[in-house]
Symmetry: C3
Subunit: 344 residues, 3 copies
């Protein structure tokens, strides 16, 4: 169990204004519905306001406007950022002792920074470089000539094929595969001939890549994920795709070859995007959308095929009325025919 902290000290750490007893001890952070009297919880969305009224938490991190909960309050300008600070207080990152595990297999021509930690059975091939304070968990594979930047963390089972460059502070979750061959063939009349995939993958600083996500290498040139982009689990990023800065891609989305996703784009879950398409900066794509052509910067789109979200919502809202509409039109036809007949 995390060590206790006084509410007063927490208020100071978070830059929050406190309504409650500053000497009260808090022993941990918990969800609204599960927190007890010695725990702190939080209200970071309007969905949570109702549940907060009946929380058993000892204290809550809330916005300046929040009212009504039966416990101490820490009011913050940005409750979500405050919760991040709160979690860091109770769950500080522990120092990672450096070193190469004796079962790791490291090529003589690889370069491992002295402050890096290489776990059991990790493999680092010839010419690869592992930066300062980087961490490879067990069964991480780093292919020939690939680079892992300073402070990056690769969880168990990550595969980085040859010629892939990861920037600094990149986090890659278990099972992600960076640099598998792109999916390209030419049919010669009898069989599919494989187009050699000899390009690379570039992952810039501060990118996070989810578990079992796949980012293929380009045939020529690079597949690129720009700085600060966040990619969830089971996402497919095909060869020669570019993902822009600070773009967010939710789980199970797939992006086909050579498509360019702009900066600060948000792709919700299970979106599918055709090849050779451009999605402009700041666009927002709703879950399960199918994108078949360019999306302008700032656009919000949804549906299959994706269209402006406001219109698409009207269309999907109207669809259930279609069966009845068909009957109505048939009745109108009969009534109109009757009138026409009457009038000769």
């Amino acid at each position: 169990m995390p060590e206790g902290r006084s509410l007063g000290a927490l208020a100071t750490a978070l830059g929050a204004s406190l309504e409650g007893d500053p000497t009260m001890l808090v022993r941990g952070v918990a969800p609204l519905g599960e927190a007890g009297p010695d725990q702190i919880s939080f209200v970071t969305s309007s969905k949570a306001v109702a549940e907060a009224q009946s929380t058993r938490a000892g204290a809550l991190v809330v916005s300046k406007e929040f009212s009504g909960a039966p416990c101490a309050l820490l009011r913050c300008d940005d409750p979500q950022l405050a919760v991040i600070m709160l979690l860091r207080v109770f769950h500080p990152a522990l120092p990672v002792p450096p070193g190469v595990h004796p079962t790791a297999i490291v090529s003589d021509s690889a370069t491992i920074d002295q402050s890096a930690r290489i776990g059991p059975c990790a493999v680092v091939e010839a010419g690869a470089r592992i930066g300062a304070e980087a961490r490879l968990f067990p069964y991480v594979y780093i292919g020939e000539g690939s680079v892992v930047g300073d402070g990056s963390v690769l969880y168990p089972g990550v595969v980085v094929r040859e010629g892939v460059r990861l920037g600094r502070r990149v986090i890659v979750h278990s099972g992600a595969v960076l640099g598998a061959d792109g999916f390209g063939y030419a049919f010669d009349g009898r069989a599919h001939q494989k187009i050699p995939q000899v390009g690379g993958v570039v992952i810039e600083d501060d990118v996070e890549i989810g578990a079992n996500t796949t980012i293929d290498r380009a045939s020529v040139g690079n597949t690129t994920v720009r700085k600060g982009a966040k990619i969830d689990n089971l996402v497919q990023i095909a060869h020669h795709v570019t993902v822009g800065e600070h773009t967010v891609i939710a789980a199970q989305t797939g992006i086909a070859g050579s498509t360019q996703i702009g900066n600060r784009v948000i792709l919700a879950g299970q979106v599918g995007i055709h090849d050779h398409v451009r999605v402009g900066d700041g666009a927002m794509v709703a879950g399960q959308s199918g994108i078949t052509k360019d999306v302008p910067a700032g656009a919000q789109v949804m549906g299959f095929p994706a269209r402006p979200a406001a219109e698409a919502r009207k269309t999907y809202g109207a669809m259930p009325r279609l069966p009845e509409l068909i009957k109505t039109v048939r009745a109108l036809e009969h009534r109109l025919a009757a009138l026409e007949q009457r009038l000769g």
Copy 2:
């Protein structure tokens, strides 16, 4: 090849009534279309009845009502459960010799039951516990403090991060990742700040988890899969989700954060479910549906966005008539305008 069994002995083992020669030897189980005269096959769905008429199988497991096949019959109250017994007869589970492979890397502070089997290159971190007759195949990673219950089987390459609890008789297929960080960030105006994911994952007894499926840890609290739930391959279960007892989730379905799936729910393949939604007990969701709001208990829903299945089927059935309907309405407009003009 499995050892031969007499039809009479099989009838006894299955509690079936036999129509045929009890001394006939059966040497294996095979699909209807592939079984030969010394094999037994089965009819467990109405789809298979027609194919059964021309099977070359020596015998069939069928229902009480089945009629017409050209071979011996074993009639059973529940043919599907009988097939399970049949397969267990021909493919008995072999005893697994216990022991820790010399290449496994087990922390001094981990606890491994003497009857457990730990395969080559498996890693068990500090404070982890592996129960009786549990089996870890090669490259299975068990993080700090995680627990694997009695009789559980983790196939090659499963990753269980720190602080994850697996119950008894849990089966986890290769490449599944339990406890990777949930996908949560707060944008601070310049970049996405990672919300620490310090919660856990709880997998209860008798759960089965498919290959390359990902079940993320919660930010706070737990992601929970309740007893008897069955999860197929490539499924995404986000942070703080609850999956109810005996719920079945088919391949490539994704469930977003904090959503609660009830008991005995059936989610078909490629379903997408929004965050913070509740799907009631016994609900059935058709393949590729997109669920954006709560689903009542017992409801059957389909489509995007998901609606009651009976209505949705009508809507999807009517959609192909829409282009013609538009023409019909335009013609009606013209005819009506003509009438109106005539009448002044």
Copy 3:
């Protein structure tokens, strides 16, 4: 950097007619938008023609009909196949030294061809066979009795469970799982009883399987992928499915149990196909389609539920007009009612 080649030598190697200086040295292949004066690029689709006009590449591989680029040209009958030759010239496959890495764990009863290469920490179980010039990268698991054919390559972290047969020249990318249990249960009134999955998986010659793709073993009989089929990343192929020869399956597509996909079929990304369905030879299925019933040979289908593509495109094109159509029909009703009233 690859060694330089003269344009003249490249033209000869590709069987191309050269328009330009045969002594010009080319040092590599790059995408149109990135190639410099000492690199060669290519125009293999009509989408690329416009971009080619402003390329900085020193030379281009183009079709016989292409015109207009500001550089040397290598004209070819089939530019895409020529690019494959070109990439092989600049990136020749290197010979792979045979041998079993000392950290690999190979059963005494396994058979490894002397020309095969077995990487660090690979596991080959009892009775398995690895063919000539096959290559297993680190952490590849080959289960009991499984077979890897001559010249096949299994990238890091591939799992091949027991009783799986891979043909010759099969390529399996990292994280793919072949032979995990199919997803089958029978509910006995209280819990889901697992149907034993004791069948196999057969992968024929020249198949390529993408990263983190899952191909389940059959309950009885086999799951089969026929020769020359190409399967992208994160694809789910359920138990007892058959994928035909030279069929192409794009990323994140899922095929449910016992479905049969014909030869030379093309399934685009994120397609979902029901169980027990047949997709005929040469069919083409658009991205995100949902297939619920048989698809005839040669058909082109799209949408949910999938219908003939030409019709479906009309329907999807008409859908945005539905909200307006409802208003139009309501207005028609009023006008018609007014007429009817006037006429008594």
